[in-house]
Every structure is written in structure tokens, then in C-alpha cells.
């Protein structure tokens, strides 16, 4: 259990992670006491070979001869699970953003948070630094926490009702809803049907890229829930603008009101506060703002930033205007809303070049100087003070004694456990909740080793408390981190017969329990789907684990009738084929030859095509079947071919109205014709079915095979009658 126990190398600091305190209201209002920060930005410059480059070189050598979008899948999780930063802005700041044509300050900041420009150095629990250039954060509103939050009730967490309004009276836009995803994907499929796969606005409508979009939408704006803390805010941006006549007073008020936002109880309020002064370059005097900012700096230390923006609205034709990038991580509901309001008349949002640079700088400085050090500090403190007690020999005794006490009498059980079964959550300051937070922070900082060992310890705790959702989530993350760790290992480590070698079979018990808990105990379809599909994506990156990946994807399909709506089911079926496609050609590894899985791939493609055909999506059928001919074209098995023809017939029937399509079909035809008379015979049958003119040969064939069954039927009927 304590296999990966990492005592940090750095000296044990007695400091708790400290948080800037509110200006206490007892102090004078004119000169409120603003506590200065104790943080120092510690940016380490150790440069070990970074995890990511290793991973990419590994997949480069291993997956050289087959097409995998491994770059996408291996980093998908790292891009999806990133720190969330809440924004709490004053009214005048939001007004400034509105003047610029944005909904509020959060929307102005949001696109720039998704990728932090430049390299970011992160220290892991061992004190080794790693440099990443693809770090990102998510900007959310303070009130979104409330809207996206899962309300907890006695009967376990229930998802928010589909059509209702949120607590703040808005149409819900949060993620974590399979029905929204279904609607969105159905829209994209339909659009691909209309455009016949022609790229529009550079959007690729192939199955793979649509599936990628689906995954990203699934992982966007995940609900704020008690059992995982990824979506809980790591920090809160408190923003005021230079328009405010009483800036210090406003900051104090914002601090107080930020604390009073009724965010769910399980969300810890010990987040970092980051203060931003937005200076209006067009209206206000920079001297005044600068003086104010100096004052802020004196009080808050590093955790503040002066953002210089122009307040006038920008249009494309302006000098130095740049188009604001699209948010990539928006939820399905948000995209659906965008589609609904989408008319070509609305011009793209623009900002002055200087504004865009200023926003990027804000994000980068905040992440580099405040958020990363803060999270590192939290991880090391919690690791020292909470987690280390639970690992090692004493931790084992502790959990053992707890377990035995728990079974001996129910009263001591409930007293020893801090799990609140009424709200089915742990209060944020209990060791269990803190450890989960530690593991999640470590995960977000990409220290998967620490995360893995912490999740592993947590599993048993949650199980003895019967905190099923927590238990399932920790099982899920243990499995995911173990795959991530194995993927990050160099190739020769994988093939060596070390005892710690990762095997997909070792995931089985973990995921079994997780799936069971998610589905049966918690009735959370979304969490179940996410768990399975992420496992599939991670396993798929390694050619050795393709079978396991496909097996898990099949499991998702197995219970698809209760979990997945039809379009998503078809997509997942296609994904199984994609999993096998990773091994479409044999792989030669050092120890053995791994045979190809091209027939499996072809079968799943046919299955997916069948699903699409049932829904009448002919374009998808065609695209899916394109890869199939290479396999079935050379097989002289009439039954197989006839079925594929019948699937194809579905869309060929209506293809005649489009000239370009028939040309395209001609090429497909020509490419897969290896066959002889059998093929012709099939072609003839097809014509019969299409009620075209009948030649003598066709008539012969018609009588020979097609009418066999009806005749027999008649015969038996007359037999019965006589």
C-alpha cells in the first residue's frame, strides 16, 4: 500500500499553507489592515528530462508505424484536469468588460486562461523540477461554483434536473450531462451529413476528430462535486477597477461577499486570493492607479496584479485589433447555446493587441508566481502533516485498528469516521478530504507518483467508511494514474520482467468496483462513462494494451442501454474499432511479435456502420466503411460482403442526386474490386432491390435466389390449408 511513499526532500516547513486574511472589519475602515503575504515565488531551475518529452519520444518509437493521435490522448488528461480559478469581480470591473463587448470580466479572461504562454516549472514532491509548456487553468465565475455544484441529498448525490434553472436563475450551462453531449454530437453528425464531410471553417468532421471533440466536451466544466476536488477553486481572483471611487473599501467588500457566496459546503474556502486592479487606460489617470497598486502590493505581497486595459470596444478593422481566441474547453450546454444564437452577423470579438498581451501576462504571472507555488506548498504541507501519518507502518496500524473498532461496535464506528452520511460528503477539513485534495493537487501538478500513492491509501479509508462515491473516484484515479505512470516509463522498463511491471489486468479489480459503485450505488451515469472512456483513451496509447482498451470500451457498450444515448453509443462503437486500428498492422517488439487486429477492427467498424445506418446517417456509414474494404475485399466470404453491401446500399440509394458523390463512389468501387462473378451477382441483386429495369440475367437471378423464401412460404401455407 505504501509502495510509493515519498518524503519530500525539502526541509519540513512549519508553515501551514497560508492564505491572505480578510481585512478585519474591526480595524479602521480608512486604513484597513491588509495582511501581507508570506509567500515567496520559488521557481526551481532543476532540469530533469521532463516527463512529457519522454512520453512523446516513447510513443514516437513505439507507434511509428501506425496512426495514433497519441499526442492528443496522452496529454488529454493533463489538459482536462487543471486548476480552476474562480473570478469575483466588482460591478465596475464587469461594467468595463461589458464596455469592451464581453459579458463580464470572467468571460474576458477565460479564453486566455486555457493555455499559459511560455514554460512553467513545477516541483514535484521530491523537489525535482519539471518544465511544461502546455500548462493551463480554467477560469470560472464565483457563482458558477454554485450553479455547477451537485446538490447533496440524503439518498446520495443527485444530478441537477435537466431543464430547470440554476440557483442563480440562469439556464444551466455546466458540463457533466450526457444528454447535452448527445444533443451536441447529434448536431455535429447532422451537420457533417449536410456538408458531406467538407471542411467548414477548418473544422474537420471525421469520426476521430468528432470523437475528440466529444471527449473534450465531456471533460469541460465538470460538475463541482464532493468526491473530487479538481473543479474546486484553487484560487479566487478578486478584481476591482480604477473606476471605483473607493477601491480599498471595494476590495474588502468583495472579500466578504466572496466568502458569503453560498458555495457548497464540501468546497473548501481556503483558496488563494489573488487581487487584480484593472486600470482603464482610456479614462483614468495611470498615476492614481499606480499609487493605488503600490498600496495593494504593500498589503498583499505578490498576489496582486495591475491590468491595463482600454475600455473602448474594438472591431476587426481597428488598428492592432486581434480576434479573441475561442474557448476550447466549453461545456456541451454552452456550445449548444452558442449554436442556437449563432448567426453569421455577429462579428468575432476583438481586443487591442496590447489588451491581449496584458491579459496573457496576467495569467502567466498569476500562475507562475502565485498559483503553482501555492499548490506546491499545499502539497508538501499536506504530505508532511496528513498523508505521511497514513502511510508507512503507523498508518497501517491506524487503519487496521480503525477497521476492527468499526466492526466491533457501531457507535465507535460512527465516532471514528468523519464521513457525513447525511450529505454523503466529508467536510473539507477532515483528513480524508484533505488527502483527496492533496492527491488532486499532485495530479494537477502532474506528480502522478505522489497522486497514485495517495489515491491508493485513500481507497481503503473510503471503503471502511462506506463513502461509495469517494471510493469509486479514488479507485478510478488510482487506475488512471497507474496507466499514466506506466506510459511515462521508458520502453525498456516495460519489457523487463520487474515485479512492478504494469499489467492491464491489475486495473480490473479497481475499475470493476469503481464502475459498480458509480452505476449501482450512486446512479451516476456521467461519472461511469467518464471513468471508462478515459481508461480506454489511456490504454489505447500503448499498442500492448489495445485489447484491454477495447475490452473496456465494450464494457461501456455492454450497459449502453442504460448509460449511453444512441449517438454516443455509435461513437463509442467506432472507438472500439479505433482501438484495434492502433494495431492494424503487426507490431514487432523486442520479445515477441504482436499480431495485428485488423479483422477485429473491421468487425467493429461494421458494427458502428450498422448503428449509424439505423439512425440514417449515411455519411457516417460511408466514412466508417471506408477502412473496411481493405480487410473484407480480399476475403471470399459472401455472407460478410453481402451484409456490407446492404449497409452501403442504404446510402447509395440516394447518392444519385449528387454528381460528386457518384464520382466518389466510383473510386471506392474501383479500389475494392478484386472479386469476380460473385461481386457481379451481388451488384445484380442490388439492382433488383432498387427496382431498376430487369435484364434476362437479372430475371434469372431474381427467380433463383430472391424468391426462394416467399415460394417456400406459399408452399407451406398451401400445405397447411390442404
Amino acid at each position: 500500500m505504501s509502495s510509493g511513499f515519498h518524503q519530500p526532500d525539502r526541509p519540513r516547513s512549519a508553515n501551514h499553507p497560508s492564505f491572505p486574511q480578510p481585512p478585519s472589519s474591526s480595524s479602521s475602515n480608512h486604513h484597513p489592515y491588509l495582511r501581507s503575504s508570506t509567500f515567496r515565488a520559488n521557481s526551481s531551475v532543476t532540469s530533469l528530462p521532463n516527463l512529457l518529452t519522454r512520453q512523446s519520444t516513447l510513443s514516437g518509437t513505439l507507434t511509428a508505424n501506425y496512426p495514433v493521435d497519441s499526442e492528443h490522448t496522452s496529454t488529454l488528461l493533463q489538459h482536462a484536469f487543471v486548476p480552476h480559478i474562480a473570478v469575483h469581480a466588482s460591478d465596475d470591473t464587469n461594467e468595463l468588460a461589458r464596455d469592451k463587448g464581453f459579458e463580464d470580466f470572467k468571460e474576458l479572461l477565460r479564453p486566455y486562461g486555457e493555455t499559459v504562454t511560455g514554460k512553467i516549472n513545477i516541483r514535484d514532491s521530491q523537489g525535482h523540477g519539471q518544465t511544461y509548456d502546455d500548462f493551463g487553468i480554467r477560469i470560472t465565475g464565483m457563482w458558477d461554483l454554485l450553479d455547477d455544484g451537485i446538490t447533496t441529498s440524503n439518498n446520495g448525490p443527485s444530478l441537477r434536473p435537466g431543464g430547470g434553472l440554476t440557483a442563480t436563475g440562469k439556464i444551466p450551462t455546466g458540463g457533466g450531462n450526457l444528454d447535452d453531449l448527445e444533443r451536441l454530437m447529434a448536431y455535429h453528425v447532422d451537420r457533417a451529413e449536410e456538408t458531406k464531410g467538407v471542411m467548414i471553417n477548418g473544422e474537420d468532421s471525421s469520426g476521430q476528430s468528432m470523437y475528440r471533440l466529444f471527449l473534450r466536451r465531456m471533460l469541460s466544466r465538470m460538475p463541482v462535486s464532493p468526491h473530487e476536488t479538481f473543479t474546486h477553486p484553487v484560487a479566487c481572483i478578486i478584481a476591482i477597477s480604477s473606476r471605483n471611487p473607493h477601491p480599498i473599501e471595494a476590495l474588502r467588500k468583495l472579500y466578504d461577499s466572496g466568502n458569503q457566496v453560498p458555495i457548497p459546503l464540501y468546497v473548501s474556502r481556503d483558496y488563494l486570493r489573488y487581487y487584480v486592479l484593472v486600470h482603464d487606460d482610456d479614462r483614468d489617470d495611470f498615476e492614481t492607479s499606480s499609487r493605488l497598486f503600490d498600496q495593494m502590493k504593500k498589503h498583499f505581497g505578490l498576489h496582486c496584479h495591475l491590468l491595463r486595459l482600454r475600455s473602448t470596444q474594438t472591431i476587426v478593422s481597428d488598428d492592432g485589433a486581434v480576434v479573441v481566441p475561442q474557448c476550447r474547453w466549453i461545456s456541451a450546454a454552452e456550445e449548444l447555446q452558442m449554436i442556437k444564437h449563432d448567426d453569421d452577423l455577429t462579428p468575432p470579438k476583438c481586443l487591442y493587441d496590447t489588451d491581449a498581451v496584458a491579459l496573457k501576462t496576467l495569467v502567466r504571472e498569476m500562475v507562475l508566481q502565485s498559483i503553482i507555488p501555492f499548490m506546491e506548498r499545499c502539497v508538501s504541507t499536506w504530505n508532511d502533516q496528513v498523508a505521511s501519518k497514513r502511510r508507512g507502518i503507523s498508518g497501517k496500524f491506524f487503519s487496521l485498528s480503525r477497521r476492527y473498532l468499526g466492526t466491533s461496535s457501531s457507535s465507535s464506528r460512527s465516532s471514528s469516521s468523519s464521513y457525513d452520511s447525511y450529505t454523503s460528503s466529508y467536510p473539507p477539513h477532515t483528513p480524508e478530504a484533505t488527502m483527496r485534495k492533496l492527491a488532486d493537487y499532485a495530479f494537477m501538478l502532474r506528480d502522478f507518483k505522489l497522486a497514485h500513492s495517495t489515491y491508493d491509501v485513500l481507497r481503503s479509508d473510503y471503503q471502511s467508511d462506506k463513502a461509495w462515491k469517494y471510493h469509486a473516484a479514488s479507485q478510478e484515479m488510482t487506475a488512471l494514474t497507474s496507466i499514466l505512470l506506466s506510459n511515462a516509463q521508458p520502453l525498456h522498463h516495460q519489457t523487463s520482467s520487474s515485479s512492478k511491471q504494469f499489467k492491464p489486468a491489475s486495473l480490473e479489480p479497481l475499475l470493476d468496483v469503481a464502475c459498480y459503485s458509480y452505476l449501482s450505488r450512486c446512479r451516476d451515469r456521467f461519472a461511469f462513462t467518464r471513468c471508462i472512456l478515459l481508461t480506454v483513451e489511456l490504454l489505447r496509447t500503448n499498442a500492448n494494451y489495445v485489447d484491454a482498451a477495447a475490452q473496456y470500451a465494450c464494457r461501456a457498450l455492454d450497459i449502453a442501454t442504460i448509460t449511453l444515448p444512441p449517438v454516443l453509443t455509435a461513437f463509442v462503437t467506432e472507438r472500439v474499432a479505433d482501438c484495434y486500428a492502433v494495431r492494424a498492422s503487426p507490431v514487432y517488439s523486442s520479445t515477441s511479435l504482436i499480431k495485428s487486429r485488423r479483422r477485429k477492427m473491421a468487425m467493429w467498424k461494421v458494427l458502428a456502420a450498422e448503428k449509424w445506418a439505423d439512425m440514417g446517417k449515411r455519411w457516417r456509414v460511408r466514412e466508417v466503411l471506408e477502412g473496411v474494404d481493405a480487410v473484407y475485399g480480399s476475403v471470399e466470404w459472401e455472407g460478410l460482403r453481402r451484409f456490407i453491401e446492404s449497409l452501403r446500399d442504404g446510402w447509395e440509394g440516394e447518392a444519385g442526386d449528387d454528381g460528386s458523390e457518384t464520382v466518389r463512389q466510383g473510386t471506392i468501387r474501383a479500389s475494392d474490386v478484386v472479386q469476380t462473378e460473385e461481386k457481379e451477382e451481388l451488384g445484380v441483386k442490388k439492382h433488383v432491390r432498387k427496382k431498376s429495369s430487369l435484364g434476362p440475367l437479372e430475371l434469372l437471378d431474381f427467380g433463383g435466389s430472391e424468391l426462394d423464401l416467399p415460394l417456400a412460404g406459399e408452399g407451406s401455407d398451401s400445405f397447411i390449408q390442404s
Partner: protein, 142 residues
């Protein structure tokens, strides 16, 4: 009532002989109960399981490879002849010994077919006698 789908595949993945039958055990009448959509799937499942057969045939000494693959509720058992002809049986219930006996007897029948001077390897087996005998073997063991 379990149903069986039996196929003999040639060296080029081409089917030499296909048959469907139901169980005779527990009062079965020997008629297969595949649904219509299952029927064409059987062929795809059999074809796809060749990937697995090709992988494990090199790690296995015996000709009877037992259950090689499964697709939801359907199990695929395989018997590999000396001439790289594959016997595949799709079944729903696991019964290794019965299937082994079935395969051995069919192998016997197949060898006899092979000895026919008018039959060459990879040719479709159209003989009604062969069909009849296979069904008899099925009745005996399955």
C-alpha cells in the same frame, strides 16, 4: 436453448463449410435459435476471432485451442488442423470436452473429404453427406 454456428475456414479466410444447429441436450430439437441480426453477426464474429487464433496458435502445442475469443455472450472455440484449416464453433455455453469430441470427429470427416481426389484444399465442401454427418456428430456431442 443454446445454438451453435460452425464454420470451417480455409487458409485465405474463406469459408469452406457453414452450418447452424441447436442443442439436442435438455430436450432440444437441434434447430438453431439465432435471431436474424445475430445470424450475420456470427460470420463477422468468426472472422474477427481469426486475429486471436493467429496470435495464440504459435504459443499452443495442441490443435484444439479451446475458447479463443468472446463477443458479449458468444464464445468462440477453435480447432486448428495440420493444414492450417480452422474449425470455429460459436457457442453460448462452455463445455470443453464435448466441443473437443465434436471437433475431433469433424476433423475425421474433413480428412476423409480431403482424400477425395476430386476435392482440393480451400474448395467449398458441398457434399450433402458431409453435411449430414456433421449434423450427426453435433447431435451426438452438443
Amino acid at each position: 436453448m443454446s445454438s451453435f454456428y460452425f464454420v470451417i475456414l480455409g487458409t485465405k479466410d474463406n469459408p469452406l463449410y457453414e452450418a447452424e444447429f441447436g442443442t439436442f441436450k435438455q430436450g432440444g430439437d437441434g434447430v438453431s435459435r439465432f435471431r436474424e441480426e445475430q445470424r450475420h453477426m456470427n460470420q463477422f464474429i468468426a472472422h474477427a476471432s481469426l486475429d486471436i487464433v493467429e496470435e495464440i496458435q504459435w504459443n499452443n502445442q495442441s490443435m484444439y485451442l479451446k475458447v479463443v475469443d468472446k463477443f458479449y455472450g458468444v464464445l468462440v472455440s477453435c480447432f486448428l488442423t495440420a493444414g492450417n484449416i480452422k474449425f470455429l464453433l460459436l457457442h453460448e455455453v462452455k463445455s470443453e470436452d464435448a466441443i473437443r469430441n465434436f471437433f475431433t470427429d469433424v476433423y475425421d470427416l474433413y480428412t476423409k473429404t480431403l482424400m477425395n481426389p476430386f476435392y482440393s484444399v480451400n474448395q467449398t465442401i458441398t457434399s450433402p453427406i458431409f453435411d449430414q454427418r456433421v449434423k450427426q456428430v453435433a447431435k451426438k456431442y452438443l
